[in-house]
Amino acid sequence: MKYPVYLVIFLVLSMAPPLYASGGPSGGGFSQQQPMKKLTPEEKALASYQRGLKHRDKAAKFEQKAVDENDEKKFAKLQKKSTKEYEKAIDDFEKAISYYSTFSQAHGSLGYALRKVNRYDESLAAYNESLRINPSYHEAVEYRGEAYLGLNRLDEAKAAYMDLFQSNRPLADELMVAMNSWVAGRRDDASTLDVEIVEQFAKWVDERSRLASYLHPLDDSAQVRWAASN
């Protein structure tokens, strides 16, 4: 029998707080006095998912430290640590999905972690699955748009933007920030893509930014949110 995720979250967090307050089963949350409770697949999925989130957050911290690091060796070391944490997160998210296959957030988070280690094709597959399960999970549309950018699949990135422009303007603005960043990056390093293609896309990005601002000003916080998630 499958339970809605929100119900699992409620039950787990409200009925068994010591389990997660102490970091989950691997964190030694069970005391010898407590009777061992057999976890349902949904609870196991949630526990794995939460461990994955912790690894993901840890990875992001290393990543941020790397950005702030001027020493090349230290930078490389921090990048390596970050990648390692993302890989651990991937393992946990995959484990969560193995327990609970329709856990859309887990698929979405898996897509994110895979994207961070440049496994774009797998990342796209994870986002697609997340959206198949929950089509209104707009965040996954944005994440997927960024994955398309990573794969230079520009028409699909544009389609993701247009989808968000109608359904979730703040996320559309966030993807637009990513698009501008992509353009800047490709202009700096045009070796992977035809200059003309980059400039055509840059023109589209400019025009769409202008059109969006006509409707109402671009969301200033989009830059901050995008930077935080990248």
């Binding site: 544009k158 247009m162 422009f165 109608q166 769409r208 059109l211 006509y214 409707l215 109402h216």
Partner: protein, 331 residues
């Protein structure tokens, strides 16, 4: 859905007028984007309204209603005015409430529709429910399939002509600054988007009048001043939606400019001069005129471009869409 269906029928029903000679649809004609083509609306007894009928398309997003009111913040409040207003009489139903309710109750189609739309009400047919149903129908009149929408929402690069694209840039330029007042998805003042007040509810004196050089609009309609009693509000009106503007002539709150070209000339000049008659005066010199109206210069090509863009805001499908028209079985 049931409320919308009921409201649609009521919207076109002449029983909602004192003499059976008109309905909401008399002053809100679908093919004119629910305006009536007149400078001033005419009530069912022949009385002239001081103002021009406003379009009903996309008014669901409005934060306030009519040409100049801060108080009217819901469609339900607004709809009571044409129904019961006595100065001037519009539909003239004041004092006829009981008769109207009895008429509708006696009609088996209405009895069924009211029951289905308001199953929880003790009295299914009531004036309150008439107003609620009308408001529901009017809220359903949403149109967003103009050429501009196809560019904006569908990324259709061929939706706008080159001229309209140039006009769009002019419209949003600092030089013309049209979008300072005609903002957001409806190109209007005061509107909600996804539950948030997106554009401020502001009222503007556009320098149409300066009667006798006294910085006043005609007493017949001093705009927001008639509600607030504040002299600073003299001549201030809300910026109406520009959606479907090409089919909603004549323009301005009193229909005093007959063409869109004339409207552009008015704004280019930073106001209007009325040479003769009781309203004579130099509107552009009205001290209460909005600071946003500074005037601008446009070449004839630029003016045509701007007109092309304004024409691109018409959703032609909404002007004939069946779900907004008089119900088939009521014709």
């Amino acid at each position: 859905m049931e409320k919308v269906q009921l409201g649609r029928r009521l919207f076109y029903d002449n029983r909602l007028s004192v003499n059976g000679l008109g309905s909401c649809s008399t002053c809100h004609l679908q093919h004119l984007a629910f305006t009536d083509g007149r400078p001033h609306a005419i009530g069912v007894t022949g009385e002239s309204h001081a103002r021009s009928s406003m379009s009903l398309i996309n008014v669901a997003y409005n934060s306030n209603f009519t040409w100049a009111s801060r108080r009217l913040q819901t469609l339900e409040q607004q709809i009571a005015i044409p129904l019961f207003n006595e100065q001037p009489v519009e539909l003239g139903m004041a004092g006829r409430e009981t008769v109207l309710v009895a008429d509708l109750q006696a009609d088996s189609t209405y009895a069924r529709l009211f029951q289905s739309a308001f199953p929880q009400s003790d009295d299914h047919v009531s004036i309150d429910n008439v107003i609620k149903a009308l408001a529901s129908f009017v809220r359903s009149i949403i149109a967003a399939d103009s050429a501009f929408d196809r560019l904006l929402y569908l990324d259709d690069q061929s939706a706008l002509s080159e001229s309209a694209l140039r006009g769009m840039r002019l419209f949003f330029s600092e030089k013309l600054n049209c979008s300072a007042c005609h903002q957001g998805q409806n190109f209007a003042g005061g509107q909600y988007v996804q539950g948030k007040l997106q554009e401020p509810t502001e009222f503007h004196n556009t320098g149409l009048y300066n009667v006798g050089g006294h910085n006043r609009y005609p007493e017949a309609d001093p705009g927001l001043r008639s509600e607030s009693r504040q002299s600073d509000d003299d001549g201030r009106f809300r910026a109406p939606s520009l959606r479907n503007i090409a089919v909603t002539a004549p323009y301005m709150h009193d229909g005093s400019i007959s063409t869109l070209s004339g409207v552009i000339d008015h704004y280019a000049a930073g106001g209007r001069s009325v040479d003769n008659g009781q309203n004579a005066g130099i509107g552009s010199a009205n001290s209460r005129k909005s600071e946003l109206l500074t005037g601008f210069e446009l070449s004839s090509v630029e003016k045509n471009d701007l007109l092309s863009f304004l024409n691109s805001l018409t959703d032609h499908s909404a002007l004939e869409e069946q779900r907004f028209s008089k119900p088939e079985d009521d014709r």
